[in-house]
């Protein structure tokens, strides 16, 4: 007899239920209690989709814009949007604006810690808000693209395409940052006070999308997602996607960064409620991105994964004054769980250390709720990935002989 699951649902069956309005959709927070009460098999029978959410600063984000042809035509090479340098090494009027790009005249960290008041992320946020942006571009001129210079105002409503395309988003898990040195440091993990005086973390934990599908059994290329307030997709695995050979906890969740996704979506659908620029003191500019992913409960193992709670997810604690910047492979100082982190105090080397977040659990919850409503209304269904993302085989064995 072959070992198999007690519950076996297909994407098609779940989508049929969504279409009829019969599907049961819950958030990853709600799933915890459901599994506690009725067990994984019954939960897998009853619940069709679990929605997740996260809202955090994701530096590896940016947008492809096509700003429309000029008269006469021009092959833009050196391009600025509100004085922020953008990448023009593409076709005539295509460009890519990276979230962390800065204007040339920004003082950076020359006056330490730098304030980083404006950058690519702000241009992206202002575009989404419908504000006018100043475009300045230069070209060398060709027979087919003779124009050499232009200054004009662009607006998301009058450019051809605005596509958010983020090479790495939604880290499966993330470090907890502390500072063992004797001076305050300014990092992408926020302000870290000396001598382990505070800790910062950045994950939605039990609500976080990739922690609810730890082996990427349902999340893959082509998965339809909530991206920045609109509908987006997973384009590919994100850069630095590395779910292999790492420590995991009982329900399969990695104890370190692990997997990532590359996301894409139409900026014209997005909202500044879920895409916001971030100026991180002493570090630079980044982009807050809101992402939600629906997880179809195909079998009881997926019900089991999605029942994971903060107390069962461990995050590694790293020193950001010397260990992290060194680039060396160094063992974490400790592991702590998200329940402790969210209560605001962790213990490191027998010292009580206050912990605070950098990603918004409030927004993560809002996103999971919106996604739930979208699916209930039938405006969003679950998509079978064209390919699942590279991942090790699940070590969570709950199949039985039936």
């Amino acid at each position: 007899m072959k070992k198999k699951f007690a519950v076996n649902k297909t994407y098609e069956e779940i989508n049929e239920k969504i279409k009829k309005g019969d599907a049961v959709i819950v958030t990853a927070e709600e799933m915890i209690n459901i599994v506690d009460e009725i067990g994984i098999v019954k939960a897998a029978e009853e619940v069709d989709v679990v929605t997740t959410g996260t809202f955090g600063a994701m530096c590896s984000s940016g947008a492809f814009l096509n700003v429309g042809h000029t008269k006469p035509k021009m092959k833009m090479e050196e391009i600025y949007l509100n004085e922020v340098s953008v990448y023009g090494g593409l076709a005539a009027v295509d460009l890519y604006i990276g979230a962390t790009a800065l204007p040339e005249n920004d003082p950076r960290n020359e006056v330490y810690p730098g304030k980083f008041e404006y950058g690519g992320a702000h241009v992206i946020e202002e575009l989404i808000a419908g504000e006018d942006i100043e475009l300045e571009a230069y070209a060398y001129g060709t027979d087919c693209y003779p124009r050499r210079e232009i200054r004009k105002t662009i607006n998301i409503n009058n450019i051809r395409d605005a596509t958010l395309f983020n090479p790495r988003n939604c880290y499966q898990n993330y470090n907890v940052a502390v500072n063992r040195s004797s001076r305050t440091i300014y990092t992408y993990m926020g302000v870290l006070k000396p001598n382990f005086s505070n800790a910062t973390y950045s994950s939605a934990g039990q609500l976080s999308p990739l922690l609810n599908d730890p082996y990427f059994e349902t999340i893959g290329i082509g998965t339809r997602i909530f991206l920045g307030g609109g509908i987006g997709y997973i384009a590919f695995q994100g850069t630095q996607h590395a779910p292999f050979g790492i420590g995991r906890t009982v329900k399969g969740q990695p104890k370190s960064g692990s997997g990532t996704i590359m996301t894409v979506g139409d900026m014209k659908q997005m909202s500044t409620e879920f895409i916001r620029a971030a100026s991180i003191v002493g570090y630079g500019v980044s982009l807050f991105v809101g992402i939600g992913i629906p997880i179809p409960v195909l079998n009881e193992r997926i019900a089991y994964y999605t029942s994971v709670k903060d107390s069962e997810i461990l995050a590694p604690v790293y020193d950001y004054s010397s260990d992290y910047p060194s680039g060396e492979v160094i063992e974490p100082i400790a592991y702590v769980n998200y329940e402790q982190l969210r209560k605001g105090v962790i213990e490191i080397k027998e010292k009580k250390v206050p912990a605070s977040p950098l990603s918004s659990y409030y927004k993560a919850r809002e996103i999971a709720e919106i996604l739930k409503e979208w699916i209930k209304e039938g405006k969003f269904d679950v998509s079978k990935p064209a390919e699942t993302l590279p991942a090790p085989e699940s070590e969570v064995k709950i199949e039985r002989e039936y």
Binding site: G190, K193, S279, F288, R342, P354, S356, S359, S360, Y362
Partner: protein
């Protein structure tokens, strides 16, 4: 005589930038001065947030002295402003705040701002990634 303390926000005219104003408060008026924040730059209008402790008589005289050199004074209360409706509740302001005026609500996970605990140090202003915390003085 009974001692009391006040927290005030000073705006110092540019003419006073090289005057030892704080020193005078201490030596001439016998006050305990706690500088919560100060930004004094050459030949520019400066600002400072001070906690002054002393007898009410001497505090009054010190205030009169500050007014006599055209320093503008107002109480600290309304100093730090957060545009609540724009807050994304990320939590970046929590760690830099020395008085726990910002804290995470364990139920809603919104970052709450308790103005009564705020001492107006302004550390949250630079730490807020969305720049929605500000003060008219800094």
């Amino acid at each position: 005589m009974k001692e009391s303390s006040i927290r005030i926000v000073l705006t110092l005219p540019k003419e006073t930038w090289d005057n030892p104003v704080i020193c005078k408060l201490i030596k001439d008026y016998d006050l305990v001065v706690n500088i919560l924040r100060a930004e004094i730059l050459p030949k520019m209008e400066g600002s400072a947030v001070l906690e002054l402790k002393g007898t009410s008589d001497k505090l009054q005289k010190a205030i009169n002295f500050l007014k006599s050199i055209n320093v503008k004074i107002r109480p600290l209360e309304l100093d730090i402003i957060r545009e609540d409706e724009k807050c994304v509740h990320c939590g970046a302001c929590i760690a830099p705040c020395p008085t726990n005026a910002f804290h995470l609500n364990a139920e809603t996970f919104r970052v709450e701002f308790d103005k009564l605990k705020c001492v107006g140090c302004g550390h949250c202003i630079a730490a807020c990634p969305t720049r929605i915390i500000y003060s008219p003085d800094f």
